[in-house]
């Protein structure tokens, strides 16, 4: 029989009387930093990669297009955990970087990983914009980059907003593997509360915290979507 009362009391004791909540808050902060930072890097990188891949065909652009394809293939072809480990234990020493904190390193790798997925989302968004839009922009005298930036991109991003929201939520949850490179994220923080062989409450609480986080972001994304979609109809 599980003695729920005892487990709950020892958890509360550990969290509040022994100051475990401080670690949890730090974990929450780190999770948010990695998720949001990685998301922003991923979004920007994704836009860049998608645009590179959709450049008009010619000799000069073929290198960029292939580079973008290679990047996406590489980052979609290996697990995130492997990327973290290779980044931390292989790339970092090779580059001789000793200053970067685990948090920063994790954030960058999450961003690089997300960029690959984001680029496919945004590529789909760009392709969903009618090709007459590019022609209309060009015929007014805008160059390719201007038309992309002012006319195609705003529509493309709007078209793939639901998928971008999806990606944000995926990243929030994926941060739970950041512990592999010694980042104290939410998952690690709760694991550290498991001091009295009390994993049940710790991990249930961890799950609840993730659910609450995701729900908050879901509402935020929906609100933003509604505001951006307002123009359409």
């Amino acid at each position: 029989m599980i003695n729920w009362n005892y487990l709950w009391e020892s958890f509360v004791n550990q969290m509040f009387r022994l100051g475990g909540y401080k670690t949890v808050l730090e974990g929450l902060q780190n999770t948010l930093i990695i998720a949001l930072g990685g998301f922003v890097i991923g979004l920007l990188l994704g836009i860049l990669l998608a645009v590179m891949q959709l450049l008009p065909d010619n000799k000069a652009t073929s290198i960029l297009k292939n580079a973008s394809k290679l990047y996406v293939g590489l980052f979609r072809g290996t697990p995130l955990v492997v990327q973290l480990l290779v980044g931390w234990y292989v790339i970092k020493p090779i580059l001789g970087i000793t200053q970067a904190s685990a948090l920063l390193w994790g954030l960058v790798i999450f961003g690089l990983n997300s960029g690959a997925y984001m680029s496919e989302i945004i590529r789909g968004g760009i392709l969903s914009v009618d090709k007459g839009q590019m022609e209309a922009g060009r015929s007014l005298g805008f160059n390719y980059a201007q038309t992309m930036l002012k006319i195609i991109m705003p529509q493309a991003i709007k078209n793939c907003l639901p998928s971008i929201g999806n990606e944000l939520i995926a990243i929030i949850k994926e941060t739970s593997v950041a512990g592999f490179v010694s980042v104290t994220d939410l998952q690690v923080a709760f694991k550290l509360q498991n001091t009295v062989y009390n994993p049940i409450i710790c991990y249930l609480a961890l799950a609840v915290v993730y659910i609450i986080l995701v729900l908050i972001f879901t509402v935020l994304i929906k609100t933003m979507e509604k505001r951006l979609m307002k123009n359409e109809r």
């Binding site: 007459g132 022609e135 209309a136 060009r138 015929s139 005298g141 805008f142 160059n143 006319i151 705003p154």
Partner: protein, 303 residues
């Protein structure tokens, strides 16, 4: 009927097209189109579907890159590739070698062609370079209206109209908006300035697309079947705007199936079939006294 005095007073050539060819892979859409478009001209381009009239129009502002031929805009080449013809002639001469008929005469001819080819190549490479650099400036002088309107759905009507003048010509926002309002007033849509395109009817969209192109103050306007995607009851309002524009002296090239417009408003009508201009005439002659057999056949079906 258009006032001929406008046309005669200003005979400056705006666009000059020579021997224009365009092929998509093995499909030769244009096979040598020659035409001069003068200031004040309203040229109606008609022809059966798939004859290349839209391709011709899209070549004029290089939305399609022609294969060979040349296009002059305001006496400046925006496209020139004539060396391809010489190349073909050279190839034909070399083919004589196989037949052992490559004599002194042929050799001399070949040398001449080669010299001419090299000169032309140098010149055309330079034109390519300059055109690539200036194409966006050229396009500012050529307004274009599409069959599918292509308004920007994420911008208000006002922003649709003012985006290009503000960003490309550096017109101050207030002045651009004032001008946009004037233009909207002219077409009776000033109350739609803050609406989004999705709330407008097809006819309203197309009239705004015309205004958007006009806001750049182009020298010539290209219309690619501007009424073909409209409900019949909305065709009139768009044609009225175009007629008014023509009466103000705007140079226009209009690909259209509206024979009434071609007859009443155009100053010249051309018939394109099989990738070439089969007939070109004043509207009266064109419709009452067509000479080309294909045109006679075509007119009998559409009139």
């Amino acid at each position: 009927m258009r006032d001929n005095t406008i046309k005669n007073a200003t005979q400056k050539t705006i666009i000059s097209v020579k021997n224009l060819h365009k092929s998509f892979g093995k499909l030769n859409v244009l096979r040598g189109v020659d035409i001069d478009i003068n200031k004040g001209d309203v040229v109606a381009v008609i022809g059966p579907s798939g004859c290349g009239k839209s391709t011709f129009l899209r070549c004029l502002n290089l939305l399609e890159t022609p294969t060979t031929g040349s296009i002059l805009l305001d006496d400046t080449y925006i496209f020139k590739n004539e060396r391809a013809y010489l190349k073909q002639q050279m190839k034909d001469l070399l083919a004589l070698k196989k037949a052992n008929a490559f004599d002194e005469n042929a050799k001399e001819q070949y040398e001449q062609l080669k010299t001419r080819f090299d000169e032309l190549k140098k010149e055309e490479k330079q034109i390519d370079k300059a055109a690539a650099k200036n194409i966006n400036l050229h396009r500012q002088k050529i307004g274009m209206v599409f069959q599918q309107f292509n308004l920007f759905p994420h911008l208000t009507v006002m922003k649709n109209i003012t985006l290009a003048p503000i960003k490309l010509k550096g017109v101050p926002k207030e002045i651009a908006e004032e001008k946009a309002l004037q233009l909207l007033k002219k077409i009776g849509l000033e109350d739609k300035a803050n609406a989004y395109p999705s709330t407008l009817s097809g006819g309203q969209k197309q009239r705004i697309a015309i205004v958007r192109a006009l806001a750049m103050e182009p020298d010539v306007m290209l219309f690619d079947e501007p009424t073909s995607a409209l409900d019949p009851e909305m065709v009139g309002e768009v044609l009225n705007v175009m007629t008014e524009l023509a009466n103000e002296g705007m140079t226009m090239v209009v690909v259209t199936h509206e024979m009434g417009f071609a007859k009443e408003v155009a100053s010249r009508v051309i018939f394109i079939d099989e990738g070439v201009i089969k007939e070109e005439n004043s509207p009266e002659e064109f419709f009452t006294n067509p000479k080309n057999e294909r045109l006679k056949d075509f007119l009998s079906k559409v009139l």
